[in-house]
Amino acid sequence: MTHQTTDRTTAALPGIDPAHRELALHLLHQMLRVRRLEETCVELYSASKIRGFLHVQIGEEAVAAGVMSALGPEDAVVATYREHGHALLRGVPAGAILAEMYGKQEGCCRGRGGSMHLFDAGTRFFGGNAIVAGGLPVAVGLALADRMQGRDRVTACFFGDGAVAEGEFHESLNLAALWQLPVLFCCENNLYAMGTSLTLTESQTDLALKAAGYEIPAWGVDGMDALAVAEASRRAVDAVRSGGGPHFLEMRTFRFRAHSMFDPERYRDKAEVAQWVERDPIDTLRAHLGLPDDEWAALRTDVDAELQQAVAFAEAGTDEPVEELTRWVYSERGAR
């Protein structure tokens, strides 16, 4: 059912070198896939096809697109409950993601996880964690396993600005730095933790500076610029992979939509949102590329087709028999 997504590279426009254009087009395509997937999720939620909590990252696509472009297939990814885009760009088919949100057994977790708990062993995508900062220690452990087994893999761990206040953040950064583990900490700083602004949660609001306090190389990146994120990620991933220990990227971004489908957004005014929407990462990159309308239209058609197939796949999904309720509580296959 997977939809073949083809990177469409055409003759370079004057002034932009082909490699750069290829990367830019790739990032644009990936961001558009995330955007359309999540716009579809919102529609399906309103149509009551998707239930529970739903958190979309619309506006933040440059972060996932940029970081993922720097990872290899053997690397690992740990994300949060706002992870649809991360799963998709890591290689989980849109259909499997939507089927999961439909609660169907064709979903990537057989419908047991839902929106907040997407997992995929095949692409080493370790979720999908609904406990803020709960994924950080796990990422440290994945990296520890790689270190102890002499594998040059990198574990990318995504989390928000709100997670920085949690004790698990502190313990994880210290362990990773102390043991010099190959973790790339990817902080998605969208300035709000639900309805609480960063200024109300951190005494030190410069999060890159905070990370540096653990002796971890850390730098801030424009999280609305996919090319900047991709470039910073490439450098950081290279450093981590070549034994440079953990690195920390603070991606400064913004969520255009509400925290979840239940959030009336009382805590921020429309003007602040509007300012950021002007920096929409997709529009920005499209303009930077000077992409001709026909190519843009083609790209959209391509992505829309992918999503139509995905929705169809989810709609055709089937319920897992109730008799299987307690399956998977304990593993069915022995440990290898």
Partner: protein
Amino acid sequence: MKTSYREAMRTAIREAMLRDDRVFLMGEDVGHYGGCYAVSLGLLEEFGPERIRDTPLSESGFVGAGIGAALGGMRPIVEIMTVNFSLLALDQIINNAATLSHMSGGQFSVPIVIRMTTGAGRQLAAQHSHSLEGWYAHIPGLRIVAPATLADARGMLWTALEDPDPVLLFEHGTLYNVQGELDDDAGPVDIATAAVRRPGDQVSLITYGGTLPTALDAADRLAAEGIEAEVLDLRSLRPLDDAALAATVGKTHRAVVVDEGWRSGSLSAEISARITENLFYDLDAPVGRVCSAEVPMPYARHLELAALPTADRVVAAVHEVVHAGG
């Protein structure tokens, strides 16, 4: 007056803030967001950011700070957004809040109230659907209460704040939208006794919190078949009201406990054990239990429903104990 569980809880917080300026509300998103479940909506505007205090995501930190503030003479209401996150604050709750009075030989007490949303039923999956209030009831030094009605949502908080010891108050997420009538002069209620919500003499349905509506629904259906079930709402999970358990089972000689906790080691086990210990020779049948399936809550609706206690399951369990041996 027509109101909702959510509004009743908000009124209770507001009243406490007005009655005693040592009272304040602290937790994640209680202020600018308006409360994750809108319980504290509007209170920031009324009382300001010092007394309606938004906290960072630091469950252990702000729960511990609540404990310290209580020791320092305040009367904190600490909101942990949901019971799932309270696991991060468990060290403070068990090793400090529950023990300081005893460890200090009675020199200190910790008059803190910790509120949290509990329970499943909204397709929030494994990490957001725990019912751990019965688990917390294992801890000496804590009082555990579970308001299941509008009157209790309105009246338990103030009594809890007046208690010198830590009180954990569990609000089931499916109750917030419950609408109903409440006396205009409704006020504080006791937090120590159980209450009979429906009289009956053939079987006792013992429950609390989010499963009270389930038990009442089952009782109606049973009545239709001529089985009169008495529904006991525990209200306080620690301490348990042994007298009320004795009274109802002494009358009905048969009992079914309805508890949303995972069956093994749930509060239903303690209740079953106590009934057997105290009323063994009164029992005409073994105590029945209707609990949640022992599975991290699945997201899929049909699986979640299959995992939770439903009126159907309660009715079936009652049939068993009613037709059992004795």
